[in-house]
Structures are given as C-alpha cells and as structure tokens.
C-alpha cells in the first residue's frame, strides 16, 4: 500500500496521525492564490509542488501536482510490495486508477489555454483525468490494461472494483488500484457554489455539521490473486464490493438513501456476509447535511444493529477521487492493527437518526470492514475488506 494525505506522506505517518487523533485540516492554504485561502480550512498535503518535483526527481515538463501525488503514493506501494520492474512492466499487470480533477489543478493555465490567451502552456495534454495514469504508465513503462475512472467521489472505490474484476475475469494477473486528487481552484469554487463547504473543520454525523472540507491525497494498493500470495506479505482480503445508483438528483442523495442502501447490501451479498458480521464501517461521512443523514438512514435500514462506524474525513478532509482508495488503506490499517479511528470533533447525534459514531481511538476485534464512497450523480460504492 502507499498513501499520501493531509495527515502524512506515508502509510506509517498516516497511521500515526489516525492513532493519535492528529487532524490534517488547517487554515493554512498556500498552493495557489485564492480568496478562500483565508476563509476555509483544507486538508492540504504538506509538501509543496516544487518539493514534490525535487523529491520524486521529475524533470519532464507538464507534470501536474495531481500526477506527482499519485507518483509519490505509487512509489511507496511499489517499494512495500517489492514488485520487480519486470512484473510492473508485464502485460499481466493492470493499473486501474481514478481522478476527478486531473490536471485541472492548474486552473489558471487551463483558463488561459481554453480561451486562447497563450501560445500553449506545457500542460495542454495534461488537463484531463486520464493524464495522471497516462503519466504513470509512461513513467513505469507499464504494458497491461490501464484505466482511469471518474465517478466523482466514488471514483477510486470503483477503480478498486475494476482492478479486482480484471483479475477475476482473466484480463490481469495482478492489479495496481487506487486514485488521486489535488486541491484546485475549480473544485473549491464548485463546491462553494453549492453551499456545501464548511468554514470550520468538518464534523461528520454531528447535529450541527455545516458541510465538508476539501482535501487532497493519493493511495494505491496492489491486488493479487489467492494463488499468487504464498510467501508474500498480505494485509487484507477484498471480499466484497458493489456499485449502485441513487438515480435521484445530480448532487444530492434521496431521502431514504436507496443508492447507499443498495451498494452496502450488494457488497455484503457478494462477500457472503450477513449484516451482523460487519465489525466496522468507514463511512463516506463528508459532514454535509445531506450525505450524513442519508447515509445514516441507509445504515439503519440495512443493519438491525448499526456496527461501529466513523468518518476519517474529519482527519483528511474530502479527498474526492482519492477518497475511496485512501479510506481503503485506513480500513485495512484497522484490520492489521485491530483498532478503529474516531470521527474527530463529534459532539451530538443527528436527531432523526440518533446514531453515534466512534468518538475516540480504540482497540477492538475487527474482522470485516465496510468502506463507503458516494459521489455526485448518485454513484454509490461499497467495499468490504476482511482480516487474513
């Protein structure tokens, strides 16, 4: 696994922050000039783009911050996995990634190029979501199936599913799966225009929640088949997954949470688990009025007794296209260390649901973790990871 986020530049650093309750959301934004730097808190990764270029020894032109964050996390994963260059370049190794921002983190350059105000910046082929994985493919000379998914906030959960399916159906022997997004003036203004950003640090599942905080990050995981894991370090098993659609509204979920209910139910079915066997849910829990209430209602519909749950977005902010993958890593950390991480700053339950998330770090038996990611367009995905 490899991860980079506002709470750390590696799996170990992220883990330490999760255990110690160290929040990465700050009012110290400095990636680019924006009037919101002073006004809003963000989950910014603590390395500047210039330092990322240096650290990763990248000299190619046109490489965006999004691609650099992805490369950072992928490098960590590759080292952790000990994947040989030959295996990495094998046509049997797939790369299933995700991004919603792509190169649009360079909002000003995009504006200039799109409106013909320049002779062309170095980024004219780097704006789309695919640019990240095109860069990674080229950087590592990968020859298997390469893909990018964009289904908004559920993107990297869906790439994890896609990678697993590629392996299951004989299109790949192993799959590098994950996603990335970096903070961008575009998304800051977009979410702000929808009035769903909070001017304070987010409080998921709290009665007084005021919205989400935007974050950035990247995470990659290596999926291998059961028959290929002998002698290798194995962190967890991906036992179930499901994608379903809420089909209600472009940017909010239906009152009863049909989409979330169906994705959670489908994941359980595929894993062959009953609701009662889920030890912990890493919720989507963005801190918006709509998501948290609807997700709670869907959990109440599905689970006779809602298991322990929390939202780690209180630590990292909402990392958009990276969220599914970052939170997959956190779910797996729970399984490895038999512990769960709290929803920071939670005070009072939502009156209509009465659900209380985990409020402080604790050690507990964790056998199966469900991780939810729900995106714009009603795109709902749930993954289940199990202890090995």
């Amino acid at each position: 696994m490899g991860v980079i986020s506002a709470v750390g530049n590696s799996v170990a650093e992220n883990h330490k922050s999760l255990v110690e309750g160290l929040c990465g959301i700050r009012n110290e934004f400095d990636l680019f000039p924006t009037k919101y730097a002073e006004l809003l808190p963000f989950g910014q990764v603590r390395i500047s783009t210039a330092d990322l270029l240096k650290k990763l020894h990248v000299t190619d032109p046109g490489v965006t911050r999004t691609s650099l964050l992805a490369l950072h996390a992928l490098n960590e994963m590759l080292q952790d996995a000990g994947l040989s260059p030959a295996a990495l370049s094998s046509s049997e190794t797939a790369l299933a990634g995700a991004s919603t921002v792509g190169g649009m983190c360079l909002t000003d350059e995009l504006y200039a190029d799109a409106n013909k105000k320049t002779d062309g910046s170095p980024y004219t082929s780097s704006y789309d979501c695919a640019s990240v994985n095109m860069y990674l493919q080229k950087h590592y000379k990968m020859n298997g199936i390469i893909n990018t998914i964009n289904t908004a906030c559920s993107s990297s959960a869906n790439s994890i599913m896609y990678g697993a399916m590629l392996m299951k159906n004989g299109f790949a022997k192993r799959a590098i799966v994950g996603g990335v997004d970096s903070l961008a003036k575009y998304t800051i203004n977009g979410f702000n225009a929808l009035h769903i950003l909070s001017s304070e640090k987010c409080t998921p599942f709290d009665e007084d929640r005021k919205g989400l905080n935007l974050g950035e990050g990247a995470a990659f995981l290596l999926l291998e088949k059961e028959e290929d894991i002998a002698g290798k370090k194995v962190y967890a098993e991906l036992t179930g997954f499901c994608n379903a659609n809420d089909a209600y509204h472009p940017s909010s979920l239906s009152d009863e949470g049909d989409g979330p209910f169906l994705s959670m139910q489908g994941a359980l079915k595929q894993a062959g688990l009953s609701a009662g066997q889920v030890s912990f849910i890493n919720a989507h829990g963005t801190g918006t009025e709509n998501n948290d209430e609807v997700e709670s209602k869907a959990m109440l519909r599905l689970f006779e007794k809602v298991p322990a749950f929390a939202s780690t977005k209180a630590y990292t902010g909402h990392t958009l296209g990276a969220a599914g993958a970052v939170e997959a890593v956190y779910s797996i950390l729970s399984l490895i260390h038999q512990e769960v991480y709290p929803t920071l700053r939670f005070k009072k339950a939502i009156p209509s649901t009465g659900l209380v998330p985990v409020g402080s770090y604790k050690k507990m038996p964790v056998q199966h973790v469900m991780s939810n990611s729900f995106g714009f367009g009603g795109n709902c995905s749930s993954l289940i990871f199990s202890k090995v």
């Binding site: 924006t34 009037k35 919101y36 919603t100 649009m104 909002t107 995009l110 504006y111 190029d113 799109a114 409106n115 013909k116 320049t118 062309g120 004219t124 082929s125 789309d128 979501c129 695919a130 994985n133 095109m134 493919q137 080229k138 990968m142 020859n143 199936i145 390469i146 893909n147 990018t148 998914i149 964009n150 289904t151 908004a152 869906n158 896609y162 399916m165 590629l166 299951k168 159906n169 299109f171 003036k185 575009y186 203004n189 977009g190 225009a193 929808l194 994608n243 379903a244 659609n245 089909a247 509204h249 472009p250 940017s251 989409g259 169906l262 995106g375 714009f376 367009g377 009603g378 795109n379």
Partner: protein, 347 residues
C-alpha cells in the same frame, strides 16, 4: 465476449434517424459537428441543463431505454466528459473573481454526468460507471460490460462512448497540435500530408448482453496497447489475429481509424501490410472526426454494415466492394499512443 442488440449513434453524419451515409456531411470551421436531433424523449426541464456531451449521450440512449424492459447497468466511456460546462464554470470563476457563482455548470461538468443523467431519467439504480482513459475510455467500458456479463449472466447493459467538441476544448487540443491548421474537406482527409486530424464528436450507445439470439453483431475480442513503438504494435496485431481469427477465416473488412494525421499514418500502413493479401480496408474518421471515443462510432458503423450487409462507397480505401461481411477487424489509435483492436462478427 458480448452481443450487441441495439445500436444508436448521434454523429456528424446522418446516423441517428433515417440513417444515410451516402451523403457526406462536411466540417464547418474545421470541425465535424454532430447533427443533433430534437431530443423529444428528454423532458425539457432536464434537457435545458445538459451540455452537448450529456445531450448526445442521453439522446442516443433514449431509444434503448424505451425498448428495454430492464437495464442492469449503464457503462459509459468518455475522454473529456462535460468539458464545455467545465470551462464555462471556469470562466465564471475568473469573471466574478471567485465571488458568487452559479453551480449548474459545475454539476454538469463531471465526467459521469452522462451516465448519471441516463440513470436518473430511466430511474435505474443498478451498476453505473464512467471510464475516462482518453483513447481507451470506450475500450475499458467495453471490457467492463464483458466482465459484468460474466459476473451476472442474463443481464442487459447500456454501453456507450461519447465526446463533444467545445470551443474551449478545441482551443486546447489545437494548441496541443491535434488538429490540422488548414481547412480541408473530409473527402480529402486521407490525401493530406500534414500533422493533425479534424475535430469530431458523437455518441454511440449499445444494448449489450450475452444472448446470441437476434443479436446484430458480436464483439469477440478486444485488445489495447500504450506505445509509440511500431514493432510492439505489429507484434500485438499478429498475436491478435493468430489468437482470435482461425486460419481458414477471412477478414472481410479492416476498419481503420486512419485520421489524416501524417504522424500516425505509419501505424495504419504497418497494420494493413500485415493483413492477408487483398483484405478490404475502409476508413471512418472522415465521417466521425477524431476524438477519444471515436472507436465507439466505429463499432456502431460495424453494426450498421453488418445489418446492411455492405459498406458505403466513400469509406473504402481502394476500388473494392465488400458484400455480406461477417468478420470485421477494427483498429484505431488515439494520437499514435493508445491503440486498440476490436473483433466484430455478424451473429
């Protein structure tokens, strides 16, 4: 792999209602713009929000939604999603200096807006995803549909590819060298010896499942490659043919994504030279223009050809007539970097 039962296409040619490919529609201001229908099936309250890509994708999906009792998933490939809406929102950010902004464009600009809108209009709660890997976006969507069918036999999926030309995206792509600087007629696309192609756009939507009965066509194999190495491409084609096309079977048509871009011509000529002698070659980008999901247009075209049992004359490279084609090999590349082979057979 999977069977195609319905195929609809909105494109720069007359491909949606009363299909007629004999009359060639030409570029306007260096762009092959889609002939958009009236979109009667889309409620006005929904249509008014849609950017072009979403309109075309939704419009081409409507007949399938109407004709199909139950869809088990919606799987879309798009290179640039709602780029027009994206830049419109971006322009607002600049014009109003990050002040009070209208969010409509932002919501419609997400790549999965097409799949989401189709899902909402059909109230479909099942699998819904959007692949955006540029020149392989449609191919990955296709593989996804194949895998879903393996997992859930007997299901029906809406599979498609869509991309739009927006003024803004045209500017960016133009700066990137994707398009010809000179104005040309589509008829002359393949005679030019200059870099770049013509900008195109379109939406091709298919109803696919694992039932052979009554299918228009069958997609038997798909393979992709990221490379600028000619030798690697040639090797892949040879493997593809030897794996999927038995020795005695004739390739009735090689459907080529040759784009008029002199930088990528070598890939097409290399593939053609590896084919059995006298394999008829047809080209399609003078009809569709160049865009990331143009291979979806080609698949629609293959279905049309299978149904009509002949190939429109203006597509053929050479004075060959192709009658009753049963096996079509499609080769496309996007910007000489993302290559794909798709094998389509008549059912």
């Amino acid at each position: 792999m999977l069977y195609i039962h319905q195929a609809y296409c909105i494109s720069p040619q007359k491909t949606f209602q009363d299909v007629d490919l004999q009359e060639l529609h030409e570029p306007a201001e260096k762009r092959l713009l889609a002939i958009e229908p009236l979109y009667d099936g889309i409620p006005p309250g929904v249509l008014r929000r849609m950017g072009r890509a979403v309109r075309m994708g939704a419009g081409a999906s409507m007949p399938i939604i109407k004709n199909t009792a139950e869809l088990d998933g919606i799987i879309i490939g798009t290179g640039k999603g709602g780029m027009e809406d994206c830049i419109k929102f971006l322009n607002q950010i600049v014009q109003y200096e990050e002040g009070l902004l209208a969010p409509g464009n932002f919501v419609q600009s997400t790549s999965n807006a097409v799949a989401a809108q189709v899902g909402m209009m059909s109230k479909n709660r099942s699998y819904n995803t959007t692949h955006v890997h540029r020149g392989h976006a449609f191919e990955n969507a296709l593989i996804d549909a194949v895998m879903q069918l393996n997992e859930f036999p007997g299901s029906n999926y809406l599979l498609g590819g869509v991309d739009e030309i927006s003024d803004f995206d045209y500017n960016i792509e133009n700066l990137d060298g994707a398009y010809k600087q000179e104005s040309i007629s589509s008829k002359d696309l393949y005679q030019t010896d200059t870099p770049g192609s013509i900008a195109g756009e379109g939406a091709a939507m298919f109803l696919v499942n694992d039932q052979a009965e009554n299918a228009i066509a069958c997609i038997n194999a798909v393979n992709m490659l990221h490379s600028q190495d000619l030798a690697q491409l040639e090797k892949l084609l040879q493997q593809f043919i030897s794996t999927h096309i038995p020795a005695g079977e004739k390739i009735d048509l090689f459907l080529s994504g040759e784009s008029g871009d002199n930088r990528t011509l070598k890939f097409y000529t290399a593939c053609e030279s590896l084919l059995p002698v006298n394999t008829p070659v047809a080209r399609f980008k003078h009809l569709s223009g160049e865009y990331a999901t143009a291979s979806s247009f080609a698949v629609w075209l293959a279905c049309y050809i299978m149904q009509q049992q002949k190939v429109p004359g203006n597509m053929m490279n050479g004075p060959v007539e192709v009658l009753a084609p049963k096996t079509i090999l499609l080769y496309n590349n996007y910007k000489g970097l993302q290559h794909s082979f798709i094998l389509i057979r008549k059912n």
